[in-house]
Amino acid sequence: MDTENMYEGNFGPNPDHHESSTAVPASSQKTQLSDAMEVEDNRSAEEDEEDEEDVMEDDFSMLMRAWTNERSAPDILEYEGATIENLMELVDFQLQKMKSQPALVANILKMDVDRVKYLVRSYLRTRLSKIEQHARHYVNEPTYSERLSQNELDYAKGFIGLEEKHVRKSFLDQLPPHLRTVDEVSGEGLEMVTKPDLDSAVFCRVRSTVGEFQFEASEDPIAMKRNNVFITRYSIICNLLEDGKVELL
């Protein structure tokens, strides 16, 4: 991975959020993922404190963030059911309002509605494709099955059934009875139930100052200030992500 290049350029889907944090190419040549590397920004401490206050987020930016997180995280995250429902109510309201507007305004509103729909659609579809990848694991592990909506859980179960039926019909029923399982662990520790790789590398931006944070047990803690960007292993920051202290890029 060419880390040098990845530090340059715009990190977020939402450039406004980012205006004053200029990404500087990291001077460090280390490419090991274990070294959580920091991209500095030249935002002053005062500005930081001011920004801490604007924590009220509207539903759209919340879903936007959930969507980006979902797309970058290796495993499935909490379902943003309430946010989506609020947003769709707004969409409904917008569509009602549109009827009494002149054509130009109506068109702009329609565009807006289309984009919200795209976001919701893409969010749900990203989740579906993640569910398909590790359906059995997500259904078996209570921590994960709690994160799915009821519909998604039904989908995951249906998908497992479908896959199993397909391999059974295609060849498994013709194998000796002892080889017909689909969830065994082989002699070399290879499991048939696939799991997401929680140690994969992710970029994350700090949303509210965390303070000193221990990335690796063997290394010194690193200060995590608002708007700093780090590349690190997902498993290290997944708790911070759950608390909403960092967002993925």
Partner: protein, 246 residues
């Protein structure tokens, strides 16, 4: 040779590219399952002979005297017993038992490898089919004819059931979060909508379509400026062509 058939199958699985899928190789799948069944009966025979010789020949080691059970753990137990055996005095019958142990272990590995290859082959194919279906608006009827001849009956069934599974999910979601309108669930998901209206050229005659703003006659060769959501499905199936203005 041992495992060759499975290797060929694995190689075919690798031949699947995002826009091409080779025909379902029923023959090869049959050969691999056949080999697997044959190896299994051989293992059963060998273990039966091992158990009977163990009970007759009074082998001193506990580990090999125990009747070996047929399970996926067999291979591990055998490896363990082999390690024990090498440390101690080896009798003739023990040597024979070791030979058999080695052979069963090899066969066992081949068995699980065959199974993995079979699973991988089918998995790669269903993966391809799923992504294909998404580009076709999850409508099994839109799968091109030459492609569906290359699929096995099970795979065609899989496509239909996958589409059904998705429509169940979509209906449940839409009735829950958005009861009054549709989410355009299957619209092109790759890019966010940029413009409300897009310019399209008609490639094949579609006749008249009804849009929000009235009826449009789509004759081959004509160009129109239309709402994306109204005609998106016609672009996907190739009746219209999207002209990029920029």
């Amino acid at each position: 040779m041992l495992g060759d058939e499975a290797f060929r199958l694995a190689k075919e699985a690798k031949d699947i590219t995002p826009d091409h899928i080779p025909a379902y190789n029923e023959e090869q799948v049959r050969l691999v399952t056949q080999e697997t069944r044959y190896l299994w009966t051989r293992i059963e025979e060998m273990i039966a002979s091992l158990n009977s010789s163990a009970s007759q020949g009074q082998v001193s080691q506990q580990s090999s005297a125990q009747p070996v059970t047929l399970s996926s753990q067999t291979y591990n137990t055998q490896r363990y017993s082999q390690q024990q055996n090498t440390m101690e005095h080896i009798s003739d019958s023990q040597l024979e038992a070791n030979n058999i142990n080695g052979q069963t272990a090899l066969y066992f590995l081949t068995l699980s490898r065959n199974k993995r290859c079979l699973l991988a082959y089918h998995h790669r194919r269903t993966q391809f089919l799923r992504s294909l279906l998404w580009t076709l608006h999850l409508a099994p009827s839109l799968v091109p004819g030459d492609l569906s001849t290359r699929l096995s009956p099970e795979e065609q069934n899989y496509i239909r059931e996958y589409a059904r599974l998705n429509s169940v999910y979509r209906d449940a979601v839409e009735s829950q979060i958005y009861p009054n309108d549709s989410l355009d669930w299957v619209a092109d998901g790759e890019l966010p909508p940029r413009d409300l209206l897009i310019e399209v050229r008609v490639v094949k005659d579609c006749g008249e379509i009804v849009t929000e703003n009235g009826v449009v006659n789509l004759q081959a060769g004509t160009q129109h400026y239309l709402h994306r959501s109204d005609i998106e499905h016609l672009i996907t199936i190739g009746y219209l062509e999207h002209i990029n203005s920029c």
